[in-house]
């Protein structure tokens, strides 16, 4: 067990390096002069040469990468071209907002996913099962940015129940868990939760169906164990996998919420990426992608390790 965890941690290192390399290369594949964004258009040749040396653009790529990585791991991701603020602090502020939203969406997704999954698994091949499976296909096929628009149309422009866009009341700074703030989260969180709901429902349905078909359940029923007792067994069997899927979904939502955040103007990493793309703010783009990808890798690792610790059946040596 310990050896497995150690090996898993060691295996994550080259992945993280590779992820960093991909992020570094993003700026390299971008068309255009990298200095355009930091130099005034009428800069002298002398100044240009100075800047090239200062930024290390005259050095070979591997050296530039090592330098970038050395700064990046210390939290120095460069300066945003658009705002002239350090990329790291911009990303962190946004990431906390995104995490808040993704976390709520994952919880909603977990709750409804488990509900639908259990119902479908218990009532296999009935209309309830079919309804649940239709819903999960819906969940993974719907363009969530469009679903967000629909929710805004219904709940904001027609019913006036919830605010359409934004991350808090006008003029407010920071975040508070009160209705004035939370009402802004509801629609984006529901929009984002549709995918994890569908995926968790599918997983849980399969797990429940599999557990119920096993011989020990038949044996327990034969011994006269009540349905609540059976239910406890089913939950115990399904829980580790369902939780692992939920953990992974949190990572997908963090990285995948850009479109939904754009629809709702939620001040998270998605909106940050959106503006970075439009202003060709490459350091900001690079830094945001790196932080999000790293979050995803670390989350994967944690889920994997926790699952190994929780589920003694998984022996991965």
């Amino acid at each position: 067990m310990g050896a497995y965890i150690l090996r898993r941690l060691l295996l994550a290192i080259p992945i993280m390096l590779g992820v960093a390399l991909v992020c570094f290369m993003l700026v390299q594949i971008a068309p255009g002069d990298p200095l355009v964004s930091v130099l005034p258009p009428d800069a002298s040749q002398e100044l240009r040469a100075q800047m090239i040396t200062a930024y290390g653009f005259d050095q070979p790529l591997p050296a530039q990468f090592m330098k970038w990585l050395w700064h990046a791991v210390q939290g120095d991701l460069g300066t945003s071209i658009a705002t002239s603020r350090p990329v790291f602090s911009e990303v962190m502020t946004a990431a906390i907002n995104s995490l808040r939203l993704a976390f709520l969406a994952t919880l909603i997704g977990f709750f409804f996913g488990c509900l639908f999954g259990f119902v479908a698994g218990y009532f296999q091949d009935t209309w309830l099962d079919r309804l649940a499976s239709v819903f999960s296909v819906f969940g993974v096929s719907v363009p969530h940015y469009w679903l967000g628009m629909l929710l805004v149309i219904v709940f904001s422009t027609q019913l006036y129940l919830l605010p359409a866009t934004g991350g808090g009341p006008v003029g407010a700074s920071g975040w508070a868990w009160d209705w004035a703030h939370v009402q802004f989260m509801i629609l984006p969180a529901i929009t984002l939760s549709v995918i994890p709901t569908g995926i968790i429902a599918r997983t849980v349905r399969a797990l429940v169906a599999e557990t119920l078909a096993q011989e020990f359940i038949v044996g327990l029923r034969a011994k006269g164990l009540g349905e609540s007792g059976i239910f406890r067994h089913v939950v115990k069997n399904a829980a580790p996998t369902a939780l692992a899927v939920m953990g992974l979904q949190l990572g997908y939502l963090m990285g995948g919420s850009i479109l939904v955040e754009t629809v709702f103007a939620w001040p998270g990493t998605g909106l940050l990426l959106n503006s970075a793309i439009f202003q060709r703010d490459l350091p900001l783009l690079q830094g945001t992608i790196w932080v999000l990808a790293l979050f995803f890798v670390v989350l994967n690792l944690l889920v994997d390790i926790l699952q190994t610790l929780l589920d003694p059946r998984i022996k991965r040596a």
């Binding site: 992945i15 390399l21 594949i29 628009m149």
Partner: protein, 298 residues
């Protein structure tokens, strides 16, 4: 030395033999009996026809703008599905939008199917160091959520159809390569591969005649499932302004430009998304049905 096998009859003398339907024939027959598969298949066929023939079918002008006819509601005379923020006919634009939307949704998967299969089958059949090198590289791209990777790549490359296609292909190649590698590794351990090697066939011949027929099916099903994801991602890129550029009609881009109209003509604004959703769910269901039809007797 035995000579008993040397009297080979000439091919002309051969009697007809009883045959069984091949694997793909049975899969096709099973799909043909599946009402849901036929329904979504019909929808997809209709969309493809729309994409190919849309320009001859449209009644209105998909490009002609008019400041006086902006944002007409659904059912207006001359604009059966309303008009957009520049006064262009929505019905014509939705029909014509099928072309670019389907192209952007399907092309990357087809490209990734060929590249990913080649990479994955090579890695799976070669094994050893080549496999480790390829698969660890694939793992790195796999470490990004696909939405993030697509946006990162096309965000860095800049807007445009070609950049979007390139980014999306790069997103799906590692996923397909992984599946291809894993099925090939499984097939490679079968005795019939050993038997083929024992008969002196080259690795290339074995892959062509023994491996491909057994791995392309599962890879194909997986790729079909990706079309749905790719449709949403491609339209998403255009929605962010990264894919197709105006004034070309594309559903994601239309959804983006109509976003401001949700207060005045909400249902017109939502129409392009409905098209994306319909296409995506049809491909998703078709992939599911195909998987079910292929699962039996594999």
């Amino acid at each position: 030395m035995n000579m008993s096998l040397t009297n080979i009859p000439s091919p002309a003398q051969m009697v007809p033999i009883e045959t069984s339907p091949g694997y793909w024939t049975s899969v096709g027959r099973r799909l043909a009996r599946d009402k849901v598969a036929l329904l979504v298949g019909g929808i997809i066929l209709a969309l493809v026809l729309l994409a190919l023939l849309g320009q001859y079918l449209t009644l209105g002008d998909p490009y002609g703008t008019s400041m006086f006819k902006r944002l007409r509601p659904i059912g207006t005379e001359g604009f059966p599905l309303g008009s957009d923020e520049l006064g262009r006919d929505m019905l014509s634009r939705l029909m014509l939008g099928a072309r670019l939307s389907l192209f952007m949704g399907i092309t990357p998967v087809i490209l990734a199917f060929f590249i990913g299969s080649a990479v994955g089958i090579f890695a799976g059949y070669a094994g050893g160091l080549a496999n480790a090198l390829i698969m660890r590289t694939v793992d790195i791209f796999y470490a990004f959520p696909s939405v993030l990777l697509a946006i990162a790549l096309s965000g860095a490359l800049g807007a445009g159809i070609d950049n979007a296609l390139l980014s999306l292909t790069l997103v799906f190649v590692p996923q397909i390569a992984r599946v291809a590698e894993s099925v090939t590794t499984q097939v490679r351990s079968r005795d019939y591969i050993e038997a083929a090697r024992a008969s002196g066939a080259s690795a290339f011949t074995i892959i062509r005649t023994q491996v491909l027929g057994n791995v392309l099916g599962p890879i194909f099903v997986f790729a079909t499932g990706l079309i749905s994801v790719c449709m949403i991602l491609a339209s998403g890129l255009s929605f962010l302004g990264l894919g197709v550029r105006p004034p070309e009609p594309e559903w994601g881009l239309m959804l983006n430009t109509l976003r401001t109209a949700i207060y005045t003509q909400p249902w017109v604004a939502a129409l392009p998304g409905l098209m994306i959703f319909m296409t995506s769910i049809s491909f998703n269901i078709l992939a599911d049905r195909l998987r079910a039809a292929m699962a039996i007797r594999s």
